[in-house]
């Protein structure tokens, strides 16, 4: 796997790339980076050209010029595809990354051949009877840099609250330090975007992946029903951050769908 930069009009986008063939573009979750797909890519790159980019303000990409919305992030993804000369790609998105993928599939359907939405979220109203999505306490509040270094421990707390193995905690902590105090802008953009009105407009073959221990697992059935002809793949006992924590199972779910729908 190689790392590289692409110069797009908005700045420099950092990405990881491996393999050749049909492009499959992997979009990461909030306050994260392409690193979350580092263990997924080797499974996909046997058959595809797997590319994972860092959104502006995350990982090693340039900061966003202002707090980007989901729509603005989606635009940078298309700019990135333009720079790499990719006309059409399979899009994979995790959490907020799946919202960018929906946005592109609906607004620029000619750029998306297939869509894979992993644990895409929304916050249901009580009357919908789906239950409540419970984020950990103070999970997405602003963290400022403090002279005593306590902000570092706050980022560590947020990274370790899912009970992941230590190396995964360290990776996800590093993402928060890299993104810095502006990092949470991406979470806020995700919270402000309700994908439900867009889902019925999706025209390409779509897979909805649900990891049953993900906080958004309760809404996946609804997502699936809203997307005409979509495939729902449930990964029993699958954790949040499934692409980092269960890379093999995650990649197998995707490859299973791509094989069947081709």
């Amino acid at each position: 796997m190689k790392k590289a930069y692409a110069d797009i009009p908005e700045g420099q986008i950092h990405y990881r790339i491996e393999g050749s063939g049909e492009p499959i573009l992997l979009l990461h979750a909030s306050v994260s980076s392409s690193d979350e797909y580092a263990k997924v890519i080797p499974f996909l790159s046997k058959k595809y050209c797997a590319i994972a980019m860092d959104f502006p303000g995350n990982g090693n990409s340039d900061p966003a010029p202002h707090a980007y919305t989901v729509e603005e992030h989606a635009r940078t993804v298309v700019s990135f595809m333009d720079t790499l000369g990719i006309k059409k790609a399979i899009l994979v998105g995790q959490h907020i990354g799946a919202k960018m993928a929906v946005e592109i599939a609906v607004k620029q359907p000619q750029r998306v051949s297939k869509l894979i939405l992993s644990n895409i979220g929304f916050y249901p109203e009580p009357e919908e009877g789906l239950g409540t999505v419970i984020d950990p306490p103070n999970y997405t509040g602003l963290v400022e840099i403090k002279a005593d270094g306590s902000h570092v421990m706050e980022w560590w707390r947020r990274s370790s609250c899912w009970g992941h193995p230590l190396d995964v905690v360290e990776e996800s902590f590093l993402e928060k330090v890299r993104a810095g105090p502006r990092g949470e802008e991406m979470h806020w953009a995700g919270e402000a975007y309700d994908p439900r009105p867009k889902l019925p407009l999706i025209k390409c073959p779509t897979q909805v992946i649900s990891a049953t221990r993900d906080v958004f697992s309760i809404v996946q059935e609804t997502v699936h029903k809203l997307i005409p002809g979509s495939t729902l793949t449930v990964i029993e006992n699958g954790p949040i951050d499934i692409d980092r924590v269960w890379p093999k199972e995650f990649a197998e779910a995707i490859l299973g769908f791509l094989n069947k729908s081709s």
Binding site: K2, Q12, G149, V152, S160, E170, V177
Partner: protein, 263 residues
Amino acid sequence: MKRAYADIPEGQIFYRFEGNGEPVLLLHAGVTSSDEYKKVIPFLSKTYRAIAPDFLGNGDSDPAPFAYDIIDHARTMVHLLDSLGIKKAAVVGQHVGGKIGLEMAVTWPERVSKLVLSSPNYPEAEEEKSFKDPPNFMGRVELQKDGSHLMEWWRRSALWGHPLDITNDRTLEYVKAGPRGEEIHWAGGAYDPRPKLPLVKCPTLVFSATHDPFCSMAETVHKLTPGSKLIILENGPIDIDRLWPKEFAEVVLNFLNDPGSEK
């Protein structure tokens, strides 16, 4: 300023670059990264092609395949020049970066046009030590479940009394380098530049700042390097390239523009 990766036989080297003209390679100190030169580069890039890489195992470069010594790191820098199609460059090195630059100048003299050693140091006998490292500054730090390793990295970053943003940048570098980060400090500590200095053939500037703990060694380094220039900046801090980027760049530019070699 742009960021990029170069593919060398040992892996991927991350670097920052800006400007055109004669290439100037900027080599960072121990457990830091090219980030330390980000405010220096804009001064140099007006007239030079400034390139600041991350050593393997530091910043965003790939990890070193094993604990590298100074010569291993110097070799990767020559491979970086190869990969960028650069035959010869001026080399500027801060602390351990100066040792790596020195090794390049001595082992690959055809690749180094001019050399700047910023606060170089050498191992002193215990009884004559002019500088003692801060307590437990270079011990290995293991990841801990409670995150206490982060406070240790914060402590090491904060003990120089730098502004908060610089302390935070330094901590990020420790986190990126991880438990293996200190290997480059150990490599620096194990390398005595004194036998190599008389072999330097290119114009050389020895440069230090009075608040750098290694300042007192600059005179000896200067005397051992034939025809070298010596500049000491009064009241200049440690990490001078981060803290006084303008003054640092001026000293480097004056020397590069007019190395005044007596050789």
